[in-house]
Symmetry: C2
């Protein structure tokens, strides 16, 4: 899931879009409307009316979706989650909604032929991260509507912002366009997977299916609905994302041939090797002594440094975003190596990483247990930048371990993929920028997201399509407890679900326009 | 809990004691009887009859005890477990059975004044290790009686051998002596704790209570009932045990002041320090690069090398014990550094250790979760040999971490204590040896147990009493799934519960005798 790190400095008083729209001053309103809306004020007004009319229906749809857990990591509710999303697609006007089997969880393929000149790809996920109910203030699969001070009415639940909330918001836009008696301005090719949260191991099987690939080839670009606004309403845009490898390193007596195969009494440490110590030593070899810089041999060799244009973007972002707020949100006092705010953003954008997600070895319950464990596991993620690839990086990790004396340690890549990049002047980016600007938001543009999404399936060979995220709206807590998405915003700078749905409608119309002048722009 | 590592080589055909006792050839039988039994053949016979008569009652008592979980590490059933043991003591003839409050779980103190010239101390524990029912073939708190091929009828459950089985066996001996109309041959001072499995943090408060200390001072020694027989019926005796420190090392952004205080999205590794990597680096500094030799500065400086007498014991043990069987039981192919069998036993007896019991950091569930954890924990145990002490070793660990740049890592000692040693010619050891030999068993004697028990409370200042374990019988699986204790042995060389109870009766009478000639032998 992308991590947007939205922490903007408020500069002046950005336009309060909601107040604007609700004002009776049509002329003033029109200056804030995107091109298509200015050209078709009646369409715009009718769609907005439908969105508001169908508000309760859209919220109920999102609640229904959140209440169906679909967690690939736990193989929980996957079939039900897939079927539910397929049903929602049919209701939203898609035809030929197909379940696409893979070697893992199924994907989904669907199309909506509007008879329009342009075609747009949509990428959805129907899986969500795990959730431990004990950590939540409201049950993660209850989808409760709550009042959150400073935010307004929110929906709380796993998937609220990542990604069911924004996805249900786009569906709401589809219903509103149809409900207003309008034609969809652009044809749609829909692809989805149920394994985004485990590193999309089988999504290439969906996108690579001949029928799907042929449909995607007709697209001018692909986008995923996203709640882009920070707490202050500002937006960050990303011209790509880091790649990722998620893997488990397992040290075991069984594979090592030393130490015990099962847990034994810890007194035997005096005469037995320890798979847990073996893992610790292997891990220590992967990074610099302070744990910060990757030390896997050759790992960062292909990492492309930031271009001067990219450095300029980061510099501009550093000026516009608020370091103190970012540190507060993360709960940190220092950046790594005590670098500056601008350098921290450069690292975030350009630095490959080796991160420990989790350590699990031997006895993990309360207190102690005097065992020498037969096995210990480290869960790692590695973030990759262009021109690194997932396959090469995995091979380098394995070669490094072998060279350092840890060839017995099992490296199980559970998911991951290459980095993704999209040109700043591609249709999906230009249209997004236009809609944000027409809404009074000047987006911060960054060379790439520090998180990852499987955009490489679209931006890489053979499709080479531009691909990105779009959407107004705000939420937080992806991968964490108390994940939420704003339904009715209490902050005029931040859009609720209706405002976000309207931004999606604007985006579709804008893409239909932009596409006509920059359709070949990939 | 002591780990006896019983793996004896069968030498010749040791006397089949059970067959012997059951034969009508009284003269032949008498030669196998210990001193007191030879002097009082009627007593011996009457007590044996009572043990057999009360077999079902004794088994039921043990079942009742196992069915009451009492797990200090989980603070589960502790009060109920304490009360149950107190009730069992009253039934066995103890008076003034008192619950002894501590800063943790309560201990128990009781006495049995037989008007005898000598007094013996008893040490019990009423807590057991944790148990995960999913790992057991019979539920751990069901105390099922099962037939186990090659062993006979066993009782399976948590605490079966560690330590409720042997303790219930000693209680059965008390009931039989009284049931036979005999006087207890020796006065008893009973002390127990409920925190043995978490490192006995508060047992000194029990033994140090003025009333308890005054009672213990009158003892010629202290013993804990123990199932000493290996699968082949042979017995190992230990003249002490290693000390231990159990501790948790916690690396957290909170204490460190670097990295996040809570879990954050893993993409932030590019710009944030990682408490998990910090822990890995700290751990790696504690041992040699192969994970085998402690590298805590000054840690082993006070480790006393084996004396030539102790080396001789180990050499003799290596000749008599079976390396292949030991490796098979442990599930290992190699000793550390590929040392010989004799060297492996020397290490076991004489080498201080730094062991990882468990690693718990960040996400520990199935698959991955892209977080940078705010905290990571390693559970360690350190085994200490004379003249190391727990307090000094803990201080050295903390000083080492501080010197290496890890002063922020929290070291929480959850339990532990000093090593313990008892002279070979003390009463408790001489009496045990005599009873074993009279039962046709020539015990292997080792300088110390590689595991730990809080014998230092008795052998250290101010009491300076000899202390050890005793008992025939067999069980296995302490701290592991499918823990069992043999109730009716299918192997004539191994005693079931009745034979073990009889050995306890013999031991009490033997101590009453030995005590008179070596009462001052501590």
């Amino acid at each position: 899931m992308p991590n947007s790190s939205n922490s903007h400095q408020s500069k002046g008083q950005p336009t309060d879009r909601r107040t604007f729209l609700q004002s009776a001053a049509a002329a003033a309103a029109l200056t804030a409307m995107p091109g298509w809306a200015q050209a078709h004020p009646d369409d715009f007004s009718a769609i907005r009316g439908e969105i508001e009319k169908r508000h309760d229906e859209a919220v109920k749809r999102l609640q229904t979706w959140i209440r169906q857990p679909s967690i690939a990591a736990e193989n929980r509710g996957m079939n039900e989650g897939c079927e539910l999303m397929m049903e929602m697609l049919r209701e939203a006007g898609f035809s030929g909604v197909k379940k696409m089997p893979t070697d893992g969880q199924p994907g989904v393929f669907a199309t909506l032929d509007a008879g329009a000149p342009k075609t747009l790809g949509l990428y959805f996920m129907y899986d969500v991260k795990q959730a431990d109910p004990a950590e939540w203030s409201s049950p993660p699969f209850e989808a409760a509507l709550l009042d959150k001070p400073g935010l307004g009415k929110i929906i709380m639940g796993r998937g609220a912002v990542n990604q069911k909330g924004p996805e249900a918001t786009l569906l709401a836009a589809f219903h509103a366009i149809r409900g207003a008696g309008k034609n969809m301005p652009i044809n749609l090719v829909f692809v989805a997977e149920g394994e985004e949260e485990i590193g999309s191991p089988h999504f290439p099987q969906v996108a690579g299916n001949p029928e799907v690939a042929a449909a995607l080839k007709k697209c001018s670009g692909v986008f995923m609905p996203f709640a882009s606004q920070g707490l202050d309403g500002e937006v960050s845009m990303f011209l790509g994302a880091k790649g990722v490898i998620e893997c488990e390193l397992t040290s075991s007596g069984e594979r090592w041939g030393r130490g015990p195969r099962k847990d034994v009494h810890s007194s035997n440490k005096a005469r037995l090797d320890s798979p847990a110590w073996h893992l610790v030593e292997a891990l220590a070899s992967l990074v610099s002594p302070d744990g910060n810089d990757p030390a896997i041999e050759g790992y960062a060799a292909k990492a492309r440094p930031l271009s001067s244009a990219e450095k300029k973007m980061v510099g501009e972002a550093a000026r516009r975003m608020n370091e103190a707020e970012a540190k507060k949100l993360l709960g940190v006092d220092h950046w790594v190596h005590d670098v500056s705010w601008e350098q921290s953003l450069e690292l975030l954008v350009a630095r490959p990483t080796v991160n420990i997600e989790g350590l699990v070895g031997g006895y993990t319950g309360p207190g102690g247990k005097t065992i020498l464990p037969g096995k210990a596991v480290a869960k790692l993620d590695l973030r990759l930048v262009p021109d690194m690839t997932a396959a090469e990086s995995l091979a380098l990790l394995k070669a490094h371990l072998a060279k350092k004396g840890f060839s017995d340690i099992d490296v199980n890549m559970t998911g991951g993929y290459d980095p993704t990049s999209t040109p700043a002047d591609s249709a999906v980016i230009r249209a997004a920028t236009a809609v944000y600007k027409n809404n009074g938001i000047d987006p911060v543009i960054l060379p790439r997201l520090a998180g990852s999404w499987p955009g490489y399936v679209f931006t890489g060979e053979p499709l080479r399509l531009p691909a990105g995220h779009f959407g107004l709206g705000h939420g937080n807590g992806a991968h964490a407890p108390d994940e939420y998405y704003v339904i009715e915003s209490g902050n005029p700078r931040v859009q609720g679900m209706d405002g976000a749905a309207l931004s999606h409608a604007e985006y579709l119309y804008e893409l239909a326009q932009v596409g006509s002048s920059a359709g070949s722009q990939r």
